[in-house]
Symmetry: C2
Subunit: 122 residues, 2 copies
């Protein structure tokens, strides 16, 4: 039996948050990688509010570009992501979240990772 | 002594390439992950031409948004990336390249990964 994952806030400083730069739509790409396996699960987008909420709550919260709304991973699917580590890159224009992935995975298709299709012959 | 890495083309179909969608600037984000360690090295951007060149040559080739020019990783730094696997995501709007990283790493700062700064207290 696996213990229920627990959401743990990620500490941050206002100076670190101010280092993050956003595109013209106010968004920054966020890579989500699985803790332990290192599998890259998905690439999603955050704005300043959902980045702050993600760190404060220890859950990944994104901005849906198609629906133009805040979207907390797992609220619909049940497959929550509990943040264990969070990084910002050298230029401050990309983020990396290392998460404990709940349930069957990160992808709406039912695959564990959104990157389930390799280039190559069928 | 480590054997010199060899560039190996990645097979693809035109149908797969046509699945990739680009933003208003004609770009798609490309996650680069290290083969073997699973470390996420960088997030960079490709256009249709540099994606095709990357697959055909087996080396990562990006589009520099700041310089507005094609940029083949390693041509300046010597730290080339040899592609071992390549994936496109469920929506076709993000790419993942698993690479053999040459030299000291992927980041222009000298760090192995561009994601060397964790959120948290200094």
């Amino acid at each position: 039996m696996t213990a229920m994952p627990v959401a743990t806030p990620i500490a941050f400083t206002e100076e670190q948050l101010a280092t993050v730069s956003y595109n013209a739509d106010g968004l920054v790409p966020a890579i989500v990688q699985e803790h332990g396996t290192g599998q890259v699960l998905t690439l999603a987008w955050m704005n300043a509010d959902t980045l702050r909420e993600s760190l404060e709550t220890g859950r990944t919260v994104f901005w849906s570009r198609s629906r133009q709304e805040r979207w907390r991973k797992g609220d619909t699917s049940g497959d929550r992501q509990f943040i264990r580590e969070a990084f910002f890159d050298c230029d401050g224009d990309a983020l990396l979240f290392v998460v404990e992935q709940e349930g069957q995975g990160a992808c709406h298709t039912g695959n564990r990772s959104c990157f389930y299709r390799p280039f190559g012959p069928d």
